[in-house]
């Protein structure tokens, strides 16, 4: 746990009124930076992370000792070139990597918030992270980007702060969480809450941990990040270290073993209550509704130059939903480019070493700088 003590944090003194009505104040926001802010302070890129991401976008994550979640994309000479750009990434509120979340101690009770933590939204996450601009004394960002829930934050950021970024790069996301997305998230939450060790969210205080529920949530979600073709090519019906079926419920198939492994390593780095809160925030995300059913109104005032990217095999945030963003931006007269990257790796594509995708990000960011 010592490593967690070295996490960079700012304490936000400015009160933040959450969408649920509660106001938070003096709360921590954990962040990490890559590259150097130039003298003109015009080279900063704010990267927003996805559901299970954190502020450690690049290099080695000091907590997990694994490469940062976007290390293919962010780094020296990479698509988001930290030799040129100053990359800021912070842990969302509701998260579990140092920012204000359900694992924090509630001063009123002296125990972890658990489910007493206020329900937060994508809007709240973005408003909290906006304080980073003031902290770094940046008047205007060069870009905001992120995939999946990170992309939703990109859209919300430009809607909230139309003149605070020159460019915006939302990737594999949506302006409004679909019924299917909500359904998968609910599956994950129910899995956590069905684990007896969840104890109504008070597991930390009661020294237990709903690892099984959280692992199953991760397994189910992980399937949605891949594609049928990708799964078939990688695993097919291959057996796990055996020549024949076992006629049991062991992990006979490699895909079973893979999912179990993904579930088991996830519980080491993620908090079950954070999973509930962040998935809830995603489900509540409906930028179209925020603007009374007209998404283009969200971008009416902005001069930000957009580029939207989707992936052919992403069935969680499909091209059609990404294109709706493009259409709304066009309707508002905003400047927007779009490309659908060919990939059979599903929604996960934005996290992988995908040359066409990385080239697009690099070209867009560098040609407009």
């Amino acid at each position: 746990m010592n490593a967690k003590k070295n996490i960079k944090k700012i304490i936000i003194k400015k009160p933040l009124k959450l969408d649920c009505g509660e106001t938070i104040i003096d709360y921590p926001l954990a962040y990490e930076t890559y590259g150097t802010l130039n003298d003109k302070k015009d080279n900063a890129i704010l990267v927003f992370h996805a559901l299970t991401g954190d502020q450690f976008a690049s290099d080695t994550n000091p907590i997990t000792k694994k490469p940062g979640w976007w290390s293919h994309t962010v780094g020296p000479s990479k698509a988001i070139d930290t030799n040129k750009f100053f990359v800021i990434c912070s842990n969302v509120i509701g998260g579990c990597m140092g920012s204000f979340g359900p694992g924090n101690i509630n001063p009123k009770t002296n125990k972890e918030y658990g489910t007493d933590f206020p329900v937060i939204t994508i809007n709240d996450m973005v408003n909290a992270q906006y304080n980073l601009l003031e902290f770094f004394k940046i008047d205007k960002l060069y870009s905001v980007t992120g995939g999946s829930m990170g992309g939703m934050q990109v859209l919300q950021f430009v809607a909230n702060f139309p003149d605070k970024t020159k460019t915006a790069l939302p990737i594999a996301c949506t302006a409004s969480h679909s019924a299917q997305n909500i359904a998968f998230n609910e599956l994950g939450r129910q899995s956590i809450m069905a684990d007896a060790n969840w104890k109504n969210g008070n597991y930390s205080y009661l020294n237990s941990s709903p690892d099984k529920g959280l692992a199953v949530a991760r397994m189910a979600a992980h399937i949605t990040y891949l594609s049928k073709k990708g799964l078939q090519e990688k695993f097919g019906r291959k057996l796990q270290e055996k020549d024949d079926l076992n006629f049991s419920f062991d992990a006979d198939f490699q895909i079973e073993s893979y999912l179990r492994y993904q579930g088991s390593i996830f519980v080491d780095r993620f908090d079950a209550n954070s999973y509930l809160y962040i998935t809830r925030a995603m489900d509540y995300f409906d930028l179209t509704k925020q603007y009374n059913g007209n998404l283009s109104k969200a971008f009416e005032k902005t001069k930000t130059k957009f580029f939207v990217i989707s992936f052919t095999s992403d069935w969680l945030y499909p091209t059609a939903e990404n294109k709706e963003i493009v259409i709304a931006l066009n309707a508002s007269g905003a400047e927007v480019g779009f490309i659908e990257i060919t990939s059979d790796k599903g929604h996960d594509s934005f996290l992988l070493d995908m040359p066409e995708f990385l080239k697009t990000v690099k070209n867009f960011l560098e040609a407009n700088y």
């Binding site: 580029f307 066009n330 007269g333 400047e335 779009f338 060919t342 070209n363 040609a367």
Partner: protein, 202 residues
């Protein structure tokens, strides 16, 4: 830059908003942006060409003119450009309609199927014409709806589309097309470039 693009560029006023439909590698867009301070947007079906445009800093949407023109609000551009692709659409009539909805004026260029070499191919050889401007064989051509300059002229008058300017291009030589020389130009030109606008009834 090819002569056709030079002519198109000359038809476009400075400081305007232009949509280049089928913008390819963005050569024309870049020229208009740099030389005429035009606010350009592109629509392009090829992913590779979209990538080239991105690397030039151009704003391009991957898409198909037959489906994706509708996303732009009415009159959101001063000009829409459609260079030598009208004949490749399933429904050229609807594309022209959409072009004139999203832009006040459209610049449409057409490879002329009435060009004498094209006519000669069919007349003498009895095979589908293959020329410099129409290099594909009948079995692999993307062109579904070939027309002649005269056909497009007639189409505009039938559809009440106002022809602002009609230019014939042959081997880098340009000339104005009019009702008087239409038959001649339809015979002697490889390419027609038309600046059109929707004519309202009242």
């Amino acid at each position: 830059m090819k002569k056709e693009f030079q002519i198109i560029s000359d038809l476009i006023e400075n400081n305007t908003r232009v949509l280049d439909v089928g913008c390819g590698d963005g050569t024309l867009m870049k020229y208009l942006k740099d030389k005429k301070n035009v606010d350009t947007r592109g629509l392009e079906i090829s992913k590779d060409k979209v990538q080239i445009c991105i690397s030039k800093g151009l704003t391009v949407i991957e898409g198909n003119a037959e489906k994706d023109l509708k996303q732009f609000p009415d009159s959101s551009f001063n000009y829409a450009i459609l260079s030598q692709t009208l004949q490749a659409f399933y429904n050229p009539e609807r594309v022209i309609d959409d072009l004139l909805n999203v832009a006040d004026k459209a610049i449409v260029t057409i490879p002329n199927f009435g060009f004498w070499k094209v006519r000669l191919d069919l007349l003498v050889k009895g095979t589908m014409p293959v020329t410099k401007n129409l290099p594909d064989e009948w079995y692999n051509t993307p062109n579904l709806h070939m027309c002649t300059l005269k056909d497009f002229f007639n189409f505009c008058s039938k559809k009440k589309i106002k022809l602002y300017k009609s230019i014939a291009l042959h081997e880098k030589k340009t000339s104005e097309i009019s009702n008087f020389n239409l038959n001649l130009k339809n015979f002697s030109s490889e390419l027609g470039i038309f600046l059109i606008e929707k004519k309202y009834e009242n």
